[in-house]
Amino acid sequence: MSAPDPSLPALVDRGGPAQPLLIVRDLRKHFTVRGGMFDRNAQRVRAVDGISFTVAKGETLGIVGESGCGKSTTAKLIARLLPADSGELVFDGDGVGQFGGMALKEFRRNLQMVFQDSFASLNPRLTAIETVAYGPQVHGLARPAALARAGALLARVGLAPEQFGSRYPHELSGGQRQRVNIARALAFEPRLLILDEAVAALDKSVQAQVLNLLQELKAERGLTYLFISHDLHVVHYLADRLLVMYLGQVVEVGPVDRLYGHARHPYTRALLSAVPSMDPARRTERSPLAGDPPNPIDPPSGCRFRDRCAHAHAACAAVAPVLRETVAGHWAACHLDDAGSGHPEAPARAAIAFKASFA
């Protein structure tokens, strides 16, 4: 196997298969709203409030949650498009941006992103092939070589370069534009691809095509995906593991099949029961969740989900639950799973494995 061009050497695996590709530790981002820099009463939105997780090599980690729960902010923090308030990233064993670790430019070659809005993520003044060729040119590839590389990538994502290469974004359909975005993201042979609602804006049929393309590319290039979505069907199809976020925090992590059958956290269960089913017998009679998420400027004390939770108790207001491993690889942040939490329903539930009511 030879790298396509010597001036862009392929990225190598350094940590070995057991080293997680990405470790996120205690990532935090608060936005200041209302009030400027001299305002002592400035209010802060805790968009991402101390989340930690790992992404194993070659897996697809799905991140789900309601709108405004901090999914996209998390993606931008990982890509370092936004500066984090605190927290660290470890990419294949190297601390990103740390002394002796990995430089930001190097990190960004390893990581690429596909955005939700296929139109806003393409420069309206560049043709498809120029868009894809831009990155390699930045990294020192001559223009003809970069264009040739871009042409090959466009062909790989299913757009014939002779036909589509010279088109501007407004001359492409949504699915075609998203293919261009994928081709651009692949231009450096990245190892981690963050897909931020990458198929959310597409029609169902086009969505399926793009998802299949993503699956093929992953197998072909040994990619690792961080797949952010609010569409639980799509996540079920694509992801290996699922991470559920609520108001800037992780409430549950586990293998997809495990979560879909045996979710522990009441929020995850509510979220999954909101998925429309093809089976009339499983018709949803009432909304599983009442109300809107609380204001992230002033979240409830203790467990942030407690004022929408059917199992809420005084213990939930007093202490914030932490993520605990219930079954190997399956973590949930709920007092119901902690016999020592003081929640009256907890001991009974922790003893018998809870069977989700919707399963």
Partner: protein
Amino acid sequence: MNTAVDPVPFAPAAPAVVARRSYWHGVFRQLARDPVAVASALLLLLIVLAALFAPWLAPADPYKASMIRRLLPIGSPGHLLGTDELGRDLLTRLMYGGRLSLLMGVLPVLFAFVAGTSIGLVAGYLGGWVNMVIMRTLDVFYAFPSVLLAVAIAGALGPGMSNSLIALTLVFVPQVVRVAESVTTQVRQLDYVDAARLSGAGAFSIIRAHVLGNVLGPVFVYATGLVSVSMILASGLSFLGLGVKPPEAEWGLMLNTLRSAIYVNPWIAALPGVMIFATSMAFNLLADGVRSAMDIRR
């Protein structure tokens, strides 16, 4: 499979025969289909050519006065557009006047366009405290009405054409910066700029490849609209004795010296104004046409 990071080699690169259709070519074709823009462009061309070739085209000497031929009406024999208050041929004066008026209209705007766009791009792209320092400083200039500011600066620098050029440029820079900064701030937040940052490009490269092209259009259109303002302001400065001096032909100055004749021969007195109006209008309409032709999303 997890360790298989080595990429699957690319398919043998297809010869990248990409028919490059130039963006500006498309804009031009779009513009050619807009009758108003074409008419404005032709009118402007006529005015510019007449001004440029005035020494060869003009029927008379622009400075030759004649006391017995004062204020002849339009269509007098030998004087197609009549004569002014000193008996000089008005057609000749208007052609010569176009040279200075166009220069005073276009040059300050051109300078302000270059300087203002650069400052606006930096302020908008960097954001944060850099943006704050630049924009608040310019707000000081922005707080004054443009006429007052132009008069104040030209007055401080002293009369003369180059000084009024400087004064007008300084008046327009903050306005252009405002537009450039706000457009840059919008463009900067779009995902394609984030994608470019992800590709490891530096700020300068991103501004050049992704931001500039998308900012230039709106700023250019705004600046074109300033040409007419500049012409009128320059005329105002001339009137106050801060710009062009009387024997010289300039539309604003002519309008002012002819204003005493408005009861005797109003048509003659209105002619320099008509020229300013027609030129400004043509600039504005052409700018509108260019803007819609440049709107690639249609």
